[in-house]
């Protein structure tokens, strides 16, 4: 069986500085992987490179998504093929209602896949259904994308998009940042509802706390641009107790 995501010996530079020095990991459908590590270990770089953000130079290695060379694809193509990045800091887009944004995005993806665009009533029904399950009031969707949203609302909006787009790979970049416990629980419940055998998730976080709500199958510890240790969910608890210092020495 082909893995959903295979990262092989990935080396990435930003402005002549190497951030990832040969990172390898394999994620299969249905699995939830957590990536933990201290600031500057390259966690966010990995998520950006998978999503195709400009400004990163891949100098070695490869990324396969469902067996295809992901690095050859434009970022919008990756999105249409099912790569979704839930941003740590979702941006605001004034004057563009969330509803309009969602419809434009869904239809762009469908068009890229050669599918028919959603008819407006079908789309509205779908959004209503998903929004209700995430406790998102329809009023929020009439406002500009993320404009004036609280931290919790922004993250819920990310989960809403995830639920609408039904991607096969979800990367959650520090979803817990800026959230209180209640908001975190709502967002995590939304994510858990999306767990399925043909969908994988990569959860990037500093803290073990998030992993109480989104329980991972595999935990990777990153340090200085490499995965230095992988294990089960108990590894996260162990990290919480001992900290990252020991791994920084390993990497060095």
């Amino acid at each position: 069986m082909t893995a959903l995501l295979e990262v092989k010996d990935l080396q990435v530079r930003v402005d002549d500085r190497e951030i990832l020095h040969g990172l390898t990991m394999t994620v299969n459908g249905g699995e939830v992987h957590a990536i933990m590590g201290p600031n500057g270990s390259g966690k966010s770089t990995l998520s950006h490179v998978i999503a195709g953000k400009p400004g990163y130079e891949v100098t070695g290695g490869e990324i396969l998504f469902k067996g295809e060379d992901l690095l050859e694809m434009e970022p919008d193509e990756r999105a249409a093929k099912g790569v979704f990045l839930a941003f740590q800091y979702p941006v605001e887009i004034p004057g563009v209602t969330t509803m309009n944004f969602l419809r434009t995005a869904v239809n762009a993806q469908r068009k890229a896949r050669g599918e028919d665009e959603y008819l407006v009533p079908d789309f509205l029904r779908k959004v209503r259904e998903v929004a209700a399950s995430l406790n998102i009031p329809m009023d929020m969707l009439k406002r500009g994308v993320n404009v004036g949203f609280s931290g919790g609302e922004k993250k819920r909006n990310e989960v809403l998009q995830m639920a609408l787009f039904q991607p096969s790979l979800c990367i959650l970049d520090e979803m817990d940042s800026g959230l209180d416990i209640d908001a975190l629980r709502v967002a995590a419940d939304g994510v858990n509802a999306l767990r399925s055998p043909d969908r994988a998730m990569v959860v990037i976080t500093h803290y073990q706390r998030l992993l109480n709500y989104i329980v991972p199958d595999v935990v990777h510890v990153m340090s200085q641009g490499r995965v230095v240790k992988s294990g089960g969910k108990e590894l996260a608890l162990e990290l919480e107790a001992t900290g990252y210092a020991q791994y920084e020495e390993v990497a060095a």
Partner: protein
Amino acid sequence: MAAVQETVDRVRQIDVDQYRYGFETIIESEKAPKGLSEDTVRYISAKKNEPAWMLEWRLEAYRRWLTMEEPKWARVEYPKIDFQDIYYYSAPKPKKTIGSIDEIDPEILETYKKLGIPLREIEALEGVVRPEGERKIAVDAVFDSVSVATTFQKELKQAGVIFMPISEAIREHPELVKQYLGTVVPTSDNFYATLNSAVFSDGSFVYVPPGVRCPMELSTYFRINERNTGQFERTLIIADKGAYVSYLEGCTAPQRDENQLHAAVVELVTLDDAEIKYSTVQNWYPGNSEGKGGIYNFVTKRGDCRGDNSKISWTQVETGSAITWKYPSCILRGDNSRGEFYSIAISNGYQQVDSGTKMIHLGKNTTSRIISKGIAAGKSQNTYRGLVTAHRKATNARNFTACDSLLIGDQCGAHTVPYIEAKNASTLFEHEATTSKISEDVLFYCIQRGLSQEEAVGLVVNGFVKDVLQQLPMEFAVEAQKLISISLEGSVG
């Protein structure tokens, strides 16, 4: 200057033979038709069969113009214009007769399609002649000048609305033209307005009688009537007491007009309780990717809220021209009168835009609102220049101004130059301005959700200009939205 010379050469190739012929038969002993002299003015006036008073009016403007100098205060740079190197009366060019849509330049056709203009309409705009006896569909009827004259003109006539080319109005309604022409933009107003007064070719005249609400948007008719108007348009719109009219100017089609210099004048007058809403979509040739060619657009547009409780509202979407120098203004003379200015000015490539408005508060309790959205991309420069002033006697004058600029890329410039004068203590003026850049992060966010780069820019920009787009009549707003996306194509990445 090279650019003007280029245009002149092209014009010469196209129709100068006909033009010279016409000129020489009438004024046989005259020198070459190029350039500006009293004879040019006389020639134009004669061409239009104008009465003597009109010729005198033009000549006075011409003599005044000779003493004036080009304004230099705008933030635009261009080689000096040789005013003797320009043709001042280019009669409507006879359109090359085209037999079918297949003969139209595919590139132009593609742009029309992007704008969503129906093919029948394109045929009309591009002058396709359909065989005699072929059934005309509704759209044809709208764009056929004869049909317009018989159907829409009848309806307007019933309402008492006068709507005709200004050259006809000068002959048919001299009393109205005499009463109002030049009363908002005097012949001595500014270099370009004075030039226009001397040599204007044609334009529209609208008079809406007291208490009449014009039964239709004056738009579709304009399209056909004005598509070949030369460089110097002159428009005069009068809304008598309690009247209302909405006027849409401009061709939303990609008019590749090669005339280098355009200097139009538009005058609006509202009497007591009257309202004029004037909307423009301008997308003239902006020049090529190296900044060669393109229209110089030096326009004077001004509305006079002459009566109490009257209102004038300008809405403009400017995406074309190499140089735009344009300040649609309102003189708020009547008590409780209101002026509005909603603007979207987009510049890309090497375009230079210096545009804004003037709100001149003279009457009591006058209010005005300015919403300006400037978008600069490529290597363009985009300036908002606005004046808000309250006269000593304009008690309780109110203004709200919001100027937002959006930069795309790092080689363009956005500038905001507001002039604010309050000459009495009861005045309340508010001014807000922002300048922002489309950030890589916003674009990447959209692209990560499946939008292409261009779709992402289009979405963000349309969000930015939404407040102004909402001011446009529905039919126009859709076209304008598409136009904005088209004019920003290739602006990033």
